[in-house]
Symmetry: C2
Subunit: 216 residues, 2 copies
DNA sequence: TATTTAAGATAGTAATACTATTATTTAAAA
DNA sequence: TTTTAAATAATAGTATTACTATCTTAAATA
């Protein structure tokens, strides 16, 4: 994790882990706009000042938990594609991993991956859609996202070494896996999955999109 | 325009038009988070209370100007595709229209379309990425976006009547035309256009994506 | 035992997102 | 023309947010 994101490493103390745990819960339940350090402190049973000793502001905390998620996805991806040779099967794994509501990984006690996935769908783009995106980028806040994008881009190039837009296609897969899910559940007429509301439909749509464009 | 978005119709008075004009300017310059009714009032030369007589809150004002933009795009689209029969040429027009930085339309005195396009790229998704998206949707706040999505979906079906995901592909085109532009300018490693920073590259990428997926 | 360090408790401030009241100007209706 | 209503301007006030500062206590470390 990028140390510029925090003032004190939340992984190193009980209070820190509680900040992460309750942040995920509260952002998931009420959305990022309604999330405040005061509510977070009350939920933990500490004070506002206590939270501020770990994170400068709520935006950095959001970027922190999102970075955590991308790191976890990166790990899941390398784990799940470990022994696979066929790049198009790998790419299918990528699409499925990004589109599927993950189950909570019990090995990470203070992080609920299911809720984190939901947060990414609804709040993920708020990490970079700010007027200080340039500054944040200079401080490497989006490195885990970029790393994942590069990993996926490489798999795309394994499928077709001549494909010209591996990074753009990778970011399209990531963003659309989330956005089509959001639309399916909240603005269904913007999708074609309104009847079933089934993630598998999103996977089918994305697979068709991706494999038709890279096989020229 | 949906009357639930405003308390008093801003098109009907000078103050109203000034609210729209200066909102676009301020949101464009400083981003939506930094935008407040107080700053807006100061910029116009009126009072905070004056702005509140037109709009309940800044979120509704954002949705208003975004709706205005989608209505304008819808008009531009029907105007530009008026005499075109070939649906794939129409679809190319759609991609170009959404991806290109429009010039300011001088017939709309109080609206700067160039700035509005930039606002849509950086702030567009904030209109619906809220925890009250369901309520807003029930009040038809997103109708202009849905209408545009349907129009594009119909053009897609003209190209291939058997294509199964016309709405999802339409929303993908709209969102990616904006997001790839944002990434190109602010997080270039997430795209393949970092060297040229040219919108035409985004158009080429999207055309390849779209036409390869609908021609099965 | 002395000394850092983290946490808890409390207070305070500037800005934000509103609401309310009153006075003044403008414009339409009687 | 006068009356009346509507829009605007001016001012004040509140709850909440997003912080900063300080002081005390508890626990870990040297």
């Amino acid at each position: 994790m990028n140390p510029s994101l925090y003032l004190r490493d939340p992984e190193q103390s009980e209070l820190g882990k509680n900040i992460i745990k309750h942040s995920i819960q509260l952002i998931h339940d009420n959305g990022f706009e309604a999330f405040t350090f005061k509510k977070l402190a009350e939920s933990i049973g500490t004070t506002e000042a206590g939270v501020y000793r770990y994170f400068e502001n709520k935006h950095k905390l959001l970027v922190y938990i999102i970075s955590w998620y991308w790191g976890w996805i990166q790990f899941q991806l390398s784990y799940q594609t470990n022994n696979i040779e066929d790049p198009s099967i790998k790419l299918k794994k990528v699409i499925t991993l990004l589109s599927t509501n993950v189950e909570d990984d019990i090995t990470t006690g203070h992080v609920d991956e299911f809720q984190l996935h939901q947060i990414l769908i609804a709040e993920g783009s708020k990490a970079y859609l700010t007027n200080h995106v340039g500054k944040d980028n200079k401080q490497q806040f989006f490195q885990p996202y970029k790393d994942l994008c590069n990993t996926i881009g490489e798999i795309i190039l394994e499928c077709n070494p001549k494909y010209k837009y591996p990074h753009s296609l990778a970011s399209t897969i990531i963003e659309m896996a989330h956005l089509q899910n959001f639309f399916m559940n909240h603005l269904p007429t913007l999708t074609d999955f309104s009847k079933s509301k089934d993630e598998k439909e999103i996977i089918k749509y994305l697979e068709e999109l991706v494999f038709n464009t890279i096989r020229i």
